[in-house]
């Protein structure tokens, strides 16, 4: 235990003694971490946009014009029995034209040219959100289209597929980038600790001759690596937080809709990168110190 305290003291002294190199190391690592965090934040936002949007995502099932109300009821019962469907809303021809009038507002006069209602009645189906991937929705749509009395099925297929593809691309590149940056962090700490280790080579040799164990010699360097990683992590989290606040507050002045897109970052967004950074930094210093030979 005292050995740990002494190691902490030695590590802190060394951190202070070599403050410029350490500052540089911390900054480099925190920039790396910030890049990862930013990527993760964007991915998280995109994900939430996708989720939010898909909550309202619906299939619109247009019915054939001459369908009897029994046939409509049959279809409705069919949809009710489908456990993938969360919500069913029936929109009659009359309701549809009323909706359209409301939407058109002052331009509603364009509808006056029609003698009878040209709009079909329809069902709006909402799918369970966990089922919302492009392939599934497409299959579901064609299944429904094949049903008796269904004229056409429409949904935002372009949106759905491109958004989820984008989210996937973001996730994969975040993983790649994250891996690369983490390895870079280990390398950065590795070289810094290696420099310190060489600078203190004589001292280490003396310690060994006096009877210091390998862990006694190693521990201060490992702690130093760990502290560097933690400081860089904290710094990057502060950076992420400020950048995020800035974007939300400043950008929303010009572009209010950003509030719809941006979700507040959860604590989950602030912890993993610093933790992983500290871990990688620690690993870097373990490799840098290597095996102490007697």
């Amino acid at each position: 235990m005292r050995m740990v305290l002494f190691a902490v003291e030695t590590a802190l002294k060394s951190l202070w003694h070599e403050k410029w190199i350490n500052l540089l190391t911390v900054l480099s690592i925190s920039i790396g971490l910030l890049i990862i965090s930013a990527f993760a934040a964007i991915t998280q936002n995109l994900d939430s946009v996708l989720k939010r949007w898909s909550r309202d995502f619906g299939l619109v099932v247009y019915l054939k014009d001459d369908l009897s109300s029994e046939a409509e009821d049959t279809l409705k019962a069919f949809f009710q029995n489908d456990s993938d469907i969360r919500e069913i809303r029936y929109i009659s021809k009359e309701q549809a034209i009323e909706d359209l009038r409301l939407t058109l507002g002052r331009q509603k006069s364009v509808l006056e040219g029609f003698d009878n209602n040209p709009l079909p009645s329809s069902f709006e189906l909402t799918l369970k959100s966990e089922l919302l991937n492009a392939a599934y929705v497409e299959r579901k749509a064609s299944e429904i289209k094949a049903l008796n009395g269904v004229d056409d099925v429409q949904y935002g297929e372009k949106w759905l597929s491109s958004l989820s593809a984008l989210a996937n691309i973001m996730k994969v590149s975040a993983a790649f980038l994250g891996g690369a940056v983490f390895i870079a962090i280990a390398f950065i700490t590795y070289s810094t600790i290696k420099i310190f280790f060489y600078r203190r080579k004589d001292e280490i040799e003396t310690l060994k001759l006096l009877g210091a164990t390998a862990s006694f010699i190693r521990l201060p360097f490992l702690l130093e690596g760990l502290i560097i990683g933690v400081m860089a992590g904290v710094l990057s989290s502060i950076g992420l937080f400020s950048a995020y606040e800035l974007i939300v507050s400043k950008v929303s002045e010009f572009l209010p809709s950003i509030n719809i897109v941006m979700v507040p970052l959860t604590l989950k967004a602030y912890f993993p990168a610093p933790l992983a950074g500290a871990l990688m930094s620690f690993l870097g210093s373990i490799v840098a110190v290597g095996k102490i030979k007697y």
Partner: protein, 220 residues
């Protein structure tokens, strides 16, 4: 306490020690002498495993150095206090911290460390300079710091390599007095020196190293 059996050591083919055998008993006070470059330092290094013998057997305390494991070496070294010929003081640490280091690696309580280091610095008459960096000390004072560091943890063996290197006769005498003191408390002491005035008339065993072997062993 220290036993060499047919020990040989060479550096890159240059034979320094060849078939060296001797035994130093527990509590003995002995000398190792010979001209410069003969291998005195090398022989001492073999005892605390800073160098390894090519052939032969070395036993120190209970340890057979041929079979000693890497992780056991620190514990061997803690029981052997060494006064290095080149001092090996840490120049960025105070006199106190240099001496304390030998105890910190023992995981000793800071309060105890303070007490032990204070006592030993008083003994080598350097208590008043404990906060000074070694570079601001004279050669003789640095020498005494090294001796203090070697004895502070009360090791069972003390090896001193040219401990009076370039000190005047009076200071040398004082330092030899210190070693006699340590020896009187039970430590085995081996001093390597080419200064024969250190052991003349002491009535101790002196090993004469010459041409890679122990040429003679005399009580002087």
């Amino acid at each position: 306490m220290i036993q060499f059996i047919n020990v040989s050591k060479s550096y890159d083919g240059d034979i320094v020690l060849k078939d060296v055998s001797f035994t130093i008993e527990k509590g003995e006070f002995a000398f190792l002498t010979g001209p410069s470059g003969v291998g005195k330092t090398t022989l001492l290094k073999l005892i605390y495993c800073a160098e390894r013998a090519d052939t032969g057997e070395i036993v120190v305390g209970g340890w057979d150095l041929k079979k000693i494991r890497q992780r056991t070496i620190p514990y061997l070294r803690r029981s052997v206090g060494v006064v290095f010929q080149d001092f090996r003081l840490l120049m960025n640490k105070s006199v106190f911290d240099n001496v304390a280091l030998a105890l910190r690696i023992h995981d000793m309580h800071p309060q105890e460390i303070k007490q032990y280091v204070g006592d030993v610095l008083r003994e080598v008459k350097l208590k008043h300079k404990e906060n000074i960096l070694p570079e601001h000390l004279s050669g003789g004072e640095q020498q005494r710091v090294v001796i203090a560091r070697a004895m502070v943890s009360k090791p069972t063996v003390i090896l001193a390599d040219e401990p009076t290197g370039n000190l005047d006769a009076d200071t040398s005498k004082a330092i030899m007095g210190l070693f006699r003191e340590i020896n009187a408390r039970g430590a085995t002491v081996l001093i390597a020196t080419h200064n024969d005035s250190l052991f003349h008339g002491m009535g101790r065993r002196v090993f004469y190293l010459k041409d890679a072997h122990i040429e003679k062993e005399v009580v002087e």
